[in-house]
C-alpha cells in the first residue's frame, strides 16, 4: 500500500511552568483543592491543543512554594503523559525562591537553543514572605524569561496585586493618561479584554472555584495555542508584547451545581 512518506516534522519545545502558592492560607475555604482540581481538569484540553499544534512540543513543569520552593514536577513532561499529584498547603510564601528556581531552568543551557516562548503562570493568594524582588530580578535577567508569556492568577482577595503585576511586567494600558479610553485613537481596542475591563496583562482575579478553573483552562489552552501556532489575526492586534494574547474567557454566570466557595 502506498502511503504519504513518514517524515519527521519540524517542531520546537514550548515550556509551560506553573508556579503554585502552597502557603497555609491556601488550605482555607478549599482553595488548594480547587487549584488541584482546576489544573487536573484542564489537562485534557491542554493535551488537545498540543495535539492540534504539531509544530510545538508542549512540556509542562510545576514549582510549589511555601516555607521553601521546590519543583513539584521537575522533568519537562509532555502534557499527554502528565499526571497531576495534589499539592498540599502549609507554610509561608517563598515566592522569590520559586522565581529563582525557574530562573535557573530558563538559563541556556538547560534551555534548548531554539524554542517557542515559554509560558509562566504564577498563582498566589497572598504576599511573598521572602525576597521577591531579588528572585524576580534574577528571573528577568534570563532572556527566555523576558520572552516568556507571564500570567498571574490572584486566588481570592488577599493576593498581593502589586507583586503579581511586577511579575507580569508593566501593563501598557495602565500608562494611558487618566480618562483616556484604551484604543480610542485607533479603531479597535488594543487589548482583548473580554469586555469587562479585565486584561491578561493584569493579575486575573479568581474569586471562586469556577473562575479559577476558567483561568487555568484559558492559560493552558488558548495561551498555549497563541504561543505555539497562532490563531487568526484581526486589525489592531498589535499589542505591547511579543505574543498577542487571546481573549480572556467571557464572564460566565455561575450555575448552582458547580459553585465552589462563594466568598474567599
Amino acid at each position: 500500500m502506498p502511503t504519504f512518506p513518514n517524515v519527521r516534522l519540524a517542531n520546537r519545545p514550548l515550556h509551560f511552568i506553573y508556579l503554585c502558592d502552597c502557603s497555609g492560607s491556601m488550605a482555607a475555604q478549599g482553595k488548594m483543592q480547587a487549584l488541584n482540581q482546576a489544573i487536573r481538569q484542564s489537562l485534557p484540553g491542554m493535551a488537545r491543543v498540543a495535539r492540534e499544534n504539531p509544530e510545538a512540543r508542549v512540556l509542562v513543569r510545576a514549582v510549589r512554594f511555601a516555607d521553601r520552593a521546590h519543583w513539584h514536577i521537575a522533568e519537562p513532561t509532555p502534557v499527554e503523559q502528565l499526571q497531576w499529584q495534589d499539592l498540599q498547603a502549609g507554610g509561608v510564601t517563598a515566592m522569590g525562591e520559586a522565581l529563582e528556581l525557574v530562573a535557573a531552568q530558563l538559563a541556556s543551557p538547560p534551555m534548548e537553543e531554539r524554542a517557542l516562548p515559554p509560558v509562566l503562570v504564577l498563582i498566589s493568594d497572598g504576599q511573598p514572605t521572602d525576597d521577591f524582588e531579588a528572585g524576580l530580578a534574577l528571573l528577568l535577567r534570563q532572556p527566555w524569561a523576558q520572552k516568556a508569556v507571564r500570567l498571574a492568577i490572584a486566588v481570592g482577595h488577599d493576593a498581593d496585586q502589586e507583586v503579581l503585576q511586577q511579575f507580569i511586567g508593566p501593563d501598557p494600558e495602565a500608562q494611558l493618561p487618566a480618562g483616556e479610553v484604551p484604543g480610542a485613537s485607533g479603531e479597535m481596542p488594543r487589548h482583548r479584554t473580554g469586555g469587562s475591563g479585565r486584561s491578561p496583562r493584569r493579575p486575573l482575579q479568581a474569586s471562586n472555584a469556577t473562575t479559577l478553573a476558567q483561568y487555568i483552562q484559558w492559560a493552558s489552552t488558548a495561551v498555549v495555542g497563541a504561543a505555539s501556532m497562532p490563531a487568526s489575526r484581526v486589525d489592531g492586534d498589535v499589542s505591547g508584547s511579543n505574543i498577542p494574547l487571546p481573549d480572556l474567557p467571557p464572564t460566565m454566570v455561575d450555575m448552582v451545581e458547580d459553585v465552589g466557595p462563594v466568598v474567599w
Binding site: F4, R8, R114, M188, R233, P249, M255
Partner: protein
C-alpha cells in the same frame, strides 16, 4: 470546558418556528464555541460567538447575513445556513450575560478529520488523496473567487478532510466577503498571511487568498512550512517579531530558484527534503512562481485555474513503483525523463500504459479514476462520481483492468479487433484493449 449554551437543552431562537435541541459542545476556538444541534430532525453545527469577538468585529453580523442570503459557491463549503439570535427566554438560560448570536451550518460528517491530523502525520493517506484534497480545495476557491468573493483566512485550521477519499470541507466561512469591499477586520492566520497584508501594505482579498492557498497546498503536500528553512534556524525564540521577519519583512521560499539563504536544514527540517522532490516540475513551478516574484507582486501569483490544471495533470501521471509500490508522478509524453526512478527506492520506473481521452492522457495505475473533465473540459470533475476506475485483477495484482463505473455499457474493441460490451460494474483487461467507447467519448490505450 465551560459551554455558553447549556448542553442537552431545548432553546428557542428568533425566526425559528421550532426550538433547537443543543446536543453537546464540539469544540472551541478563538472566536467562539461550536455545538452539535438538532433542528426539525436534522443534525447541524451551531457556531456561537464569544462576546469579545462580536465587540471586535462590527461587520460580522452583516457579512454573515450576506453569506446566508447567497448560496454556497460549491458543496465543499460548510456554508452558513441561518443566523440565530436568542429569544429573551433563551438569553436567560445562557451562561454569558452579554447578548450574542451564532449561525447554523452543516455538521462535519463522520470520516472527516481536521487537516492538521494529516499535517501532524496522524492519519494515513495516499499521495493521490492528498493531491485530490488540494485539487478540491482549489476548485472550491476557484468557485468562490469566480463569484467575486474572497475567503481571507484560509489555514490548516479551517479545513476538514476525509482520509479515505481526499474529499474536503471548508468551515469558518464567516470572513467571506465581496472582494475589495473590505467589510471586516480579519487579516489571516500567521504563516498563511500574504506578506503585503502582514506588513500593512494591503487589505486581504482574492489576491492574498492566492498566497494563503499556495501555503496551504504546500503544507498539505510536504508537511512543512514554505518559509521555515535556514533563516528559521537562526531564530532562537519563535515569537511574533520573529514571525514578522520570516513571513513579512524578508520572506524567502525554502526552495527559491535563486535565493539560497533559506534552504531546509537536514537536521531541523527533514520533511520537505523528502516530500518536495516527489512532485513534478510543473507543480513545483507554481510554488516557485507564487513564493518567488509573487511574494512582492501579488499579480504574479499562480491562479486557481493554474493550480487546478497542474494538480489534475499530476494526478493523471500517477505510477506505482513495481518494487516498493509507492506513488510516483514523472512527466509523460514529450517531457518524459529518459529513465525516471522511484523517489522512495530508486528503482527505474518502466514505461507506463497510458489512456488517451479527449481531454487528457492518464497513466493506468491501480486506484486511478477517470472523471467527466477528462472527456469534456467544460464539465466539473465530480470527484465523487468517476465513470471509470483502474483496478487490479483480484487474484493477479499485476493484471490491470478498467472498471466501468458509469451507468451505461461500453463498446470495447480488443487488440485483435474483436468487439465486446462491458456492462456497468464489469472490468476489462487493459492488456487486451485497444479502445473503448463510453457515452462521453473514446478512450484509447497507448503502449
Amino acid at each position: 470546558m465551560t459551554w455558553i449554551l447549556p448542553e442537552n437543552s431545548q432553546l428557542s431562537f428568533e425566526g425559528l418556528s421550532t426550538p433547537l435541541h443543543v446536543l453537546k459542545g464540539l469544540g472551541s476556538g478563538s472566536q467562539g464555541q461550536v455545538y452539535e444541534v438538532e433542528l426539525a430532525g436534522e443534525r447541524l453545527a451551531l457556531k456561537w460567538y464569544l462576546p469579545a469577538c462580536i465587540a471586535r468585529d462590527r461587520q460580522l453580523e452583516s457579512r454573515l447575513a450576506a453569506a446566508i442570503g447567497a448560496t454556497a459557491p460549491s458543496a465543499s463549503f460548510l456554508w452558513p445556513i441561518a443566523l440565530l439570535r436568542p429569544t429573551a427566554a433563551t438569553q436567560a438560560q445562557l451562561r454569558c450575560r452579554e447578548s450574542g448570536f451564532g449561525y447554523l451550518m452543516g455538521l462535519r460528517p463522520p470520516g472527516f478529520v481536521g487537516a492538521i491530523e494529516h499535517y501532524g502525520g496522524r492519519v494515513d493517506l495516499e499521495l493521490r488523496q492528498v493531491l485530490r484534497a488540494c485539487l478540491e480545495l482549489t476548485d472550491a476557491f476557484h468557485a468562490l473567487h469566480s463569484r467575486g468573493l474572497c475567503y481571507k483566512d484560509i489555514s490548516l485550521g479551517n479545513l476538514f478532510l476525509e482520509p479515505s477519499s481526499g474529499r474536503i470541507l471548508i468551515c469558518d466561512n464567516d470572513n467571506v466577503d465581496v472582494d475589495g469591499r473590505d467589510l471586516g477586520s480579519v487579516l489571516g492566520t500567521p504563516g498563511f498571511i500574504a506578506p503585503e497584508i502582514l506588513m500593512g501594505r494591503a487589505r486581504p482579498g482574492a489576491n492574498s487568498d492566492l498566497h494563503s492557498l499556495a501555503v496551504l497546498i504546500f503544507r498539505l503536500l510536504t508537511r512543512h512550512d514554505p518559509f521555515r528553512g535556514a533563516l528559521e534556524r537562526e531564530i532562537r525564540c519563535l515569537d511574533e517579531p520573529a514571525r514578522r521577519r520570516l513571513y513579512g519583512e524578508d520572506p524567502v521560499f525554502i526552495f527559491d530558484s535563486e535565493d539560497q539563504r533559506n534552504r531546509p536544514d537536514p537536521e531541523l527540517h527533514p520533511a520537505p527534503l523528502v516530500t518536495w522532490p516527489i512532485y513534478p516540475r510543473e507543480l513545483q513551478a507554481l510554488f516557485l512562481q507564487t513564493f518567488g516574484p509573487g511574494l512582492r507582486e501579488p499579480g504574479r501569483r499562480a491562479l486557481t485555474g493554474q493550480w487546478q490544471e497542474a494538480l489534475s495533470r499530476t494526478l493523471d501521471r500517477r505510477q506505482l513503483c513495481p518494487s516498493c509500490g509507492q506513488e510516483n508522478f514523472p512527466a509523460i509524453g514529450a517531457d518524459a525523463p529518459a529513465a525516471p526512478s522511484c523517489w522512495n527506492c530508486g528503482t527505474v520506473l518502466p514505461p507506463p500504459l497510458e489512456l488517451e481521452l479527449p481531454c487528457a492522457r492518464v497513466v493506468a495505475a491501480t486506484g486511478t479514476t477517470l472523471h467527466r473533465h477528462h472527456l469534456d473540459p467544460l464539465q466539473p470533475p465530480q470527484w465523487d462520481a468517476p465513470f471509470a476506475e483502474v483496478v487490479a485483477h483480484p487474484s493477479d495484482p499485476q493484471l490491470l483492468g478498467l472498471r466501468n463505473a458509469s451507468g451505461s455499457d461500453w463498446e470495447v474493441t480488443l487488440l485483435q479487433g474483436r468487439q465486446i460490451t462491458v456492462a456497468p460494474g464489469m472490468s476489462c483487461n487493459l492488456a487486451a484493449l485497444r479502445e473503448l467507447h463510453t457515452d462521453g467519448g473514446v478512450i484509447r490505450v497507448r503502449r
